[in-house]
């Protein structure tokens, strides 16, 4: 009974999870399952970035760096490149832990920075990490990357190139990650992240160690991208530096913003929607447009490729989002409160006059 009651608020989520679980039985198109598995990788990335950006309020524009580190950690430890073949499952966890360590290492130099400055430095790290992998061919395979990466096995069952087992593994990892993230959010650490986002000075004065709190945010954020990285390259079989350029960081951030910063389930929805939009919808849209162009004899429509225009469309989409729904599609209650701050203040002012005897004046404190 207790367990059922605790799950009650999540009935929509559980319903969606059920659909997600039977999806491969309904859709036999391997390409679609593959796209869904890739979307799941991006969901993991978005969940991780949401800890950094949504919870702790640290704007990280170089998040792909940790995705890259998790990917390369697995690729180097489970491929013919070094003739090392660590089994998949321990290496999956280890890749995430390695990414988490680098999360703290790359987070450390940024601790004193906030806002725009933090964004610029993390942007730099996001560029540096793939460049390092690119320019150390002896250790990382350079431009060619690493090929023949080990595929997972599960009690003797080989995953091979069939996307379905990857899909289910990713779903399982996402479920575990969400449970972990919800626990973190509702813990003293999650509260500390919020407090640091709200007001660092007040947080420190209440005994919160800003250094460890921020480093834990970077670390946990990177941890989940490490899972994503290891699963992504084991499915793909190859890894190369160009998979981790700025567009990855940008896309994941767009997913977090679209879904609603700070809202775990919103961020998942944002990632799924955006990924499916760019891989399936835009391809289909191009196809329709070409067909339409041929039918009506309009050459412009036959040539247009919406996949190539995706960042133009993202840009337009984000502008529209900021104008119409700045808090994201599924905002956390708290973020809605922040985004609509000016409205809140305006509503508050007249209400004060009607306050009870507890508060007589709203005069601002002396500045001095």
């Amino acid at each position: 009974m207790g367990a059922l009651q605790r799950l009650a608020p999540y009935r929509v989520v559980l319903g969606v999870l059920l659909l997600v679980l039977i999806y491969p039985l309904l859709d036999r198109n391997a390409g679609h399952i593959n796209a869904a598995a890739d979307a799941a990788v991006f969901i993991l990335l978005a969940l991780g970035l949401n800890i950094v950006v949504g919870f702790a309020g640290l704007l990280d524009l170089g998040y792909a760096a940790f995705f890259a580190i998790g990917s390369y950690a697995y690729a180097l430890a489970a491929s013919p490149f070094y003739h090392v073949h660590v089994p998949f499952w321990p290496m999956l966890l280890l890749s995430a832990l390695i990414a988490a360590v680098f999360g703290a290492l790359l987070g450390a130099p940024t601790l004193r920075l906030r806002g725009d400055y933090l964004a610029i430095v993390t942007l730099g790290f996001g560029e540096i990490v793939p460049t390092v992998f690119l320019n150390l061919p002896k250790y990382t395979g350079g431009t060619n990357g690493i090929v023949g990466i080990d595929q997972p096995t599960f009690f003797g069952y080989r995953f091979g190139f069939n996307p379905t087992p990857y899909y289910y593994t990713l779903i399982a990892i996402i479920v575990l990650s969400v449970i972990a993230i919800l626990r973190l959010r509702d813990s003293r650490l999650g509260r500390a992240w919020l407090a640091v986002r709200e007001d660092e000075v007040a947080a420190a004065s209440m005994g919160i160690n800003l250094t460890t709190t921020k480093l834990l945010a970077f670390s946990f954020g990177a941890f989940f991208s490490g899972f994503g990285g290891a699963l992504y390259v084991s499915k793909l079989g190859v890894v190369s530096p160009d998979q981790f350029n700025f567009t990855v960081s940008f896309t994941v951030l767009a997913m977090v913003v679209l879904g609603g910063m700070g809202n775990v389930f919103g961020v998942i929805a944002g990632a799924a929607i955006l990924y499916e939009f760019q891989t399936l919808f835009l391809t289909d849209l191009s196809q329709w447009s070409h067909n339409l162009g041929h039918a009506w004899g309009i050459s412009l429509l036959t040539q247009i490729d919406f996949v190539n225009l995706k960042f133009l469309l993202y840009g337009l989409g984000l502008v529209l989002l900021m104008l119409l729904r700045p808090e994201g599609l599924f905002p956390a209650k708290r973020i809605r409160a922040i985004v609509t701050e000016t409205v809140g203040e305006a509503e508050r002012a007249p209400a004060l006059g009607a306050e009870g005897p507890g508060v007589e004046t709203t005069a601002p404190p002396d500045a001095g």
């Binding site: 449970i179 509702d186 003293r188 509260r191 500390a192 407090a195 709200e198 007040a202 005994g207 004046t361």
Partner: protein, 268 residues
């Protein structure tokens, strides 16, 4: 840690002993060689005209600014140069002159932040969902509710702090500071923006803090009359220097203090 300055072992009963505290910002000396002590379980007040350096002195004590010179002993330790969270964990909690509640967190969450350093949950046990953590959280929530009730915010637990009225935000800030279970409570102009009746009730509340919670309070105040009924001792700062120290009655009659205040008042 066992840092002691050779010259000043803690004399019995002094909770805070600041010696020769100086803070300069570039060419401006905001606090100049101030000696200041707070005995255990007393209410001590620091007053002075606007811009006298009261808040700067406060911030130096609380670790927000590193002093340019001088030493600060608190609870038997030399805390000079400690970080704010280290000072806080040693038992010094504060409120801010311009309220700094966590605006987009609920009242309850604000108070829980004050309890942060007393909670033991570590990341690994949080992620695996150790049962001890649920019990700890439950106890913390209970304590936080009690504190909110103590400051008169019963029933407002789930309200976002920014939606609370001004006076209630001040109370919340005090509840949050109390959640730290401090030995010394620093209140920075808690009566700012309050009318005389509100200020009087606040001072009554501060007296209760001492009698019921055995707290030591250091109170910054701009208006002299507010602290007269509550403070055991009063120190007056002007232009960053200590110009007088004594009982409230002595301070009231001190010509230098009167001059500092009247001079300032004439200028504004």
């Amino acid at each position: 840690m066992n840092e002691t300055t050779g010259e000043a072992p803690m004399p019995g009963g002094l909770l805070l002993d600041a010696h020769g505290v100086t803070k300069a910002f570039g060419g401006l000396t905001a606090v100049n060689h101030v000696d200041f002590t707070v005995p255990e379980q007393s209410v001590v007040s620091l007053i002075g005209p606007n811009g006298a350096g009261k808040t700067t002195f406060f911030n130096v004590i609380a670790g927000l600014y590193r002093p340019t010179g001088g030493a600060i002993m608190f609870a038997g330790r030399n805390i000079t140069g400690w970080k704010p969270h280290e000072v806080a964990r040693l038992g010094m909690a504060r409120t801010f002159q311009s309220i700094r509640v966590f605006a987009n967190m609920t009242s309850l969450e604000n108070v829980l932040i004050g309890m942060h350093s007393h909670l033991k949950a570590d990341p690994v046990r949080i992620v695996v969902g150790a049962p001890a953590i649920a019990a700890e959280e439950e106890a913390a929530h209970r304590t936080a509710r009690e504190l909110l009730a103590f400051v008169g915010l019963r029933g407002r637990e789930e309200e976002m702090a920014k939606n609370l009225a001004y006076g209630d935000q001040r109370r919340l800030e005090i509840a949050r500071a109390l959640a730290l279970r401090p030995r010394l409570l620093l209140l920075d102009e808690p009566a700012a923006g309050m009318n005389p009746e509100e200020a009087r009730r606040l001072m009554e509340f501060i007296r209760r803090l001492r009698s019921e919670r055995r707290l030591t309070v250091l109170l910054i105040e701009h208006q002299m009359r507010v602290v007269m009924g509550v403070a055991d001792r009063v120190t007056v700062l002007d232009h960053g220097e200590k110009i007088a120290e004594g009982t409230p009655d002595e301070i009231r009659r001190n010509p230098q203090v009167i001059e500092a205040y009247l001079g300032k008042a004439a200028a504004t």
